[in-house]
């Protein structure tokens, strides 16, 4: 063959750059032209022409030939194909019942879990956002050193509003106080009664069902009650104009009925009384004081200030300056706390009760995602493991002309079908579990399916779950080469196996971390409960001195002392669960600078040390024998350290508290008078001259008789007021409610995560055992024992769980350490907790696998080997 050939490099260039669908003809044409020119004009000319021609058929000069489709493919989403997809999906579901049940159960439980958690999270995040100007409302809070409190002085709201143009409105709220309500025969103590300024309803958006918004809180003899309260007393919501007697003393006219407080409001009240009423007897209000921190102040800022942090800083500086100008020497810093931050971001003392914790919200949100992920992983795993069964179908569809997208669409559609089926079941589960969950979280959660937003997010979850869980099987299955699949048995690729193993490991990592979390939360709670508080909390009953008990103090004391059951008692000013008074106004000898530390104080009587079983380290306790004790003080160890004294020299030192000069007569060993989330604070004990709470130490087993005795005393001395009492131990436990809740929620979801993982493991092990039936048969024929076969089948999974343990341990360790740091007193994280969780997870997994592996091992080899 002596056909002349054009330069090779030009040809390569042509092949490389020319559009693929015309390269054959163009290359041929160019070769022919070259040969023609070569013959006519010689090589030089031919090469030149050739090069020129090549250039003209390279991009961008060349025109591309549109690829012509050979036949008209039907529209991918044609109704016929859709029908077929559904039919196939349905047949698959029905034919592989065990597999479908595992899948749908896993997915629906996972979805139900995450819906529940998300409901809770959504509720937590929605706090106080229903106010129309929520983003303009701030609470004025204060801090003195490390002591941060939610309260501010009575005079500030009006003072700031008058002088600062940025402050558009200010509302003061009192601390909630229990009051005895009396309507006709009905007498109940309402615990959540607030005093509020008359613009309360203008600043906050609590809807008033009846009554006049503008005047509702301006009349001192008026009261607003909630719908619920109105129904309780009058049996109807129409209560305006009716009278209620409060504390056996005053009659109030109901000026309006408020809608029930939304559950997602940090202010929870049953009744609101105008501040004017309180102003008739309250010293703070009468004097418009800037020195006593006793009220919650809410400020409405103008939009510009509310939106910018620098403007707020400037406002705070102005507030600080004004505070100084009012002659206050103490160094107090003020903060503006956004209304929407109060519920989740507040760690302030002297705050309204019932706050949440952003940390828990985040943790649970992540847990919800993880549980959903675990459920998706299950689905993926089972679907991939079963892919061999579908391989022939895929091959056939491809041969007949399906393209990859159609197959991807088919499999995604199938998983979407699964996820929507699961969603329906999940909603059912949520409905069933909601009462339990509401009890657990103590929240009024509800699922309203007609709510568009909720519906959208539910559908979103279903679609997301469907797409995520279907993605891998869809991409994996659709990638099968038809020739390979149809020719013979498809060997599952190594990459696929690796991916599946990684998924199993992930599942168990999540499960183990949750297990460790549960264990640590419980250990911490146990630690708190068992911690020595510095006093004996068992069998401590208390009786608040309400109504006439305060006035009849002496008679009360006498009757208590007479009764052998109640003789061991003390009168203290505040319960150690909610000690709220404190001052910086403390002077002692040797104090160099003006005091910056807040000293809480407690008024106790002579019996205090004996009843609380606390310890006096130096000096003595208050004693009737010393008449001068009314101006003497006891301090705790922490206060002693702060004052730079020690047990040898503290007693006898002068101490001025407020305006009262006195002497330190004793040092009491530190005892916890606040929640254990706070580190020990200094404490000053004064002799109680007024009253507060009677604490009675009963002897074990005598609680009921003691309560009866107290009830009798109350009925005699205080007939107008119902008898109320409490156990200090129970109150103390209640301080850790949110931790307890977190513990039980954690518990529930850890259990479910493990359950879902095990569902998947069960399916996988069933599949593995089935795949290896023949191998097991051969092994048994050759003499393998049942135990040998079981261990052979379990080995692979146990390896995965081992890896999961290794990965989960540091994650759990880190996460729980972080959580424990929130406590001033924390339990230790010990290795055995993680070991225990790991062993537990492994045990459960092994148990799950054992079903299938034992079944496989016990099978008669004859059946399995004959089957071919």
């Amino acid at each position: 063959m002596n056909t002349p050939q054009p330069p090779q490099w030009a040809k390569t260039l042509l092949r490389w750059l020319h559009p693929e669908n015309t390269i054959e003809e163009v290359e041929g044409d160019l070769d022919e032209l070259y040969a023609y020119t070569y013959k006519r004009t010689g090589k030089r000319q031919a090469v030149l022409r050739y090069l020129l021609n090549v250039v003209t058929v390279l991009p961008p000069f060349v025109r591309r030939r549109g690829s012509k489709t050979k036949y008209n493919q039907p529209f991918s989403l044609s109704p016929d194909m859709l029908k077929n997809y559904f039919k196939i999906a349905w047949r698959n579901i029905v034919r592989q019942k065990a597999y479908s049940i595992l899948n749908i159960a896993g997915l629906s439980i996972g979805m139900a879990c995450s819906i529940l958690i998300l409901l809770w999270v959504q509720n937590e995040l929605s706090y106080d956002r229903f106010h129309t100007r929520a983003n303009q409302l701030f609470r004025l809070t204060c801090s003195a050193g490390d002591f941060k409190a939610a309260v501010s002085p009575a005079g500030m709201a009006r003072g700031l509003q008058a002088q600062l143009p940025q402050v558009k409105g200010g509302v003061r709220m009192s601390k909630p106080s229990p009051m005895l309500f009396e309507v006709g025969e009905k007498k109940v103590e309402e615990k959540r009664v607030f005093y509020a300024d008359s613009n309360f309803l203008e600043v906050f958006s609590f809807p008033l069902l009846a009554g006049n918004v503008a005047t509702a809180l301006s009349d001192p003899g008026a009261i607003l009650i909630t719908e619920e309260t109105a129904k309780k007393y009058y049996g109807t919501a129409d209560a305006v104009g009716k009278t209620v007697r409060i504390n056996n003393h005053d009659n109030f006219t109901i000026a309006g009925v408020l809608a029930n407080t939304p559950s997602n409001s940090h202010l929870q009240f049953d009744a609101i009384i105008p501040m004017k009423t309180m102003a008739s007897w309250n010293w703070d209000l009468k004097n418009d004081t800037w020195g006593n921190f006793n009220f919650y102040t809410y400020l409405e800022l103008d939009e510009k200030t509310a939106a910018s942090a620098p403007a707020q800083q400037k406002l705070l500086q102005q507030i600080g300056k004004m505070f100084k100008e009012h002659g206050e020497e103490i160094k107090i810093d003020f903060q503006l706390q956004p209304l929407t931050d109060i519920h989740l971001h507040s760690n302030l003392q002297i705050d309204v009760p019932g706050h949440g914790n952003i940390q828990y919200v985040n943790v649970f949100f992540i847990v919800a995602l993880f549980i959903l992920a675990v459920a998706c992983i299950n689905f993926m795993n089972l679907a991939t493991a079963r892919s061999e069964r579908r391989a022939k179908e895929v091959g056939l569809r491809k041969v007949v002309g399906a393209n990859r997208y159609q197959l991807v669409f088919q499999f995604l559609g199938e998983s979407l079908l699964f996820s929507f089926l699961s969603l329906v079941i999940a909603i059912g589960i949520v409905y069933l579990l909601l009462p339990v969950f509401t009890m657990l979280t103590e929240k009024t959660l509800a699922i309203h399916l007609l709510d568009g937003k909720l519906l959208m997010s539910l559908l979103g979850i279903a679609v997301l779950t469907g797409l995520v869980s279907g993605s891998y099987p869809a991409l994996f299955l659709s990638g099968f080469a038809p020739v390979k699949v149809l020719k013979g048995k498809m060997r599952v690729a190594g990459g696929n196996l690796l991916f599946r193993n990684a998924l199993v490991v992930t599942q168990f990592v999540v499960a183990i971390v949750l297990l460790v979390g549960t264990a640590v939360v419980y250990k911490q709670l146990d630690f708190i409960k068992k911690r020595n508080l510095g006093f004996d909390k068992s069998n401590l009953l208390y009786l608040p001195m309400t109504g006439e008990l305060g006035e009849k103090r002496q008679a009360l004391k006498a009757s208590l002392a007479q009764n052998p059951l109640t003789e061991n008692f003390t009168v203290i000013s505040d319960l150690p669960t909610k000690l709220e008074s404190g001052t910086v106004d403390v002077v002692w000898d040797g104090q160099t600078t003006r005091n910056q530390v807040v000293f809480p104080s407690l008024d106790v009587d002579e019996n205090f040390v004996k009843v609380f079983k606390s310890q006096v380290l130096a000096g003595r306790s208050f004693d009737k024998a010393f008449s001068g004790d009314s101006s003497n003080y006891m301090i705790n160890e922490k206060a002693m350290q702060i004052m730079g004294m020690n047990t040898n020299n503290a007693v006898g030192q002068p101490l001025t508290f407020g305006d009262t000069k006195g002497t330190i007569i004793g040092v009491v060993k530190d005892f916890h008078f606040k929640s254990l989330q706070y580190a020990m604070e200094p404490l000053i004990l004064r002799l109680n001259k007024w009253g507060g709470v009677v604490m009675v130490r009963t002897t074990a087993g005598n609680n009921e008789q003691t309560i009866k005795a107290l009830e009798k005393i109350n009925a005699r001395l205080n007939p107008a007021f119902p008898f109320t009492f409490g156990f200090l131990g129970k109150d103390l436990d209640n301080l850790y409610r949110s931790e307890q809740q977190m513990g039980s929620i954690f518990n529930l979801f850890a259990g479910l995560a493990i359950f879902i993982s095990c569902l998947g493991l069960y399916g996988l092990s069933a599949f593995m055992a089935e795949q290896r039936t023949k191998e097991i048969g051969v092994r048994k024929v050759l003499g393998a024992t049942v135990a040998g076969v079981v261990s052979l089948l379990s080995q692979d999974f146990m390896k995965l769980i081992l890896i999961a343990i290794v990965i989960a341990s540091p994650i759990a360790w880190y996460a729980m350490n972080k959580w424990l740091q929130g406590f001033a007193y924390q339990t230790t994280l010990e290795w055995w907790i993680i070991a225990l969780a790991a062993v537990l997870a492994a045990g459960i997994a092994l148990f799950t696998i054992s079903f299938q592996s034992i079944k496989a091992a016990l099978m008669n080899p004859v059946t399995s080997l004959r089957s071919e």
Binding site: T3, T22, E25, D29, L33, L52, V57, R63
Partner: protein
């Protein structure tokens, strides 16, 4: 009736395809153009025009006969479609009509 747009070079190529009658492909078309008009055309121009004509529906093509000169590669042979034929006829008619409308002096002038 849809109007047919045909560029000058396109018309030329279309005419060549008509002349070659079933034997038209890249090489023959370029050679014919060179021989009949003396214009040296690059292959790219011919190639692009052939594709464009086919897109417009004036010709159809199919891959056919391989020869040794082309290293065994198939050539794409082009055939006129009825649309192509009528397009050429239309142009021819239009030109004739226009020529006839021309006053004589113009022709003479051009003849000088």
């Amino acid at each position: 009736m849809r109007r047919t747009y045909l560029g000058e070079f396109e018309e030329l190529v279309l005419l060549m395809i008509a002349i070659l009658d079933g034997d038209a492909y890249g090489v023959t078309v370029s050679q014919e153009i060179e021989q009949h008009t003396g214009r040296v055309v690059t292959f790219g121009a011919v190639h692009n025009t052939l594709i464009r004509l086919e897109e417009k529906g004036f010709v159809t093509s199919e891959l056919g006969g391989a020869t040794t000169e082309r290293g065994g590669r198939r050539k794409r042979l082009f055939k006129m479609t009825n649309l192509g034929r009528s397009a050429l006829a239309d142009i021819q008619q239009l030109r004739n009509k226009l020529w006839k409308l021309m006053p004589d002096p113009t022709l003479k002038l051009s003849g000088i």
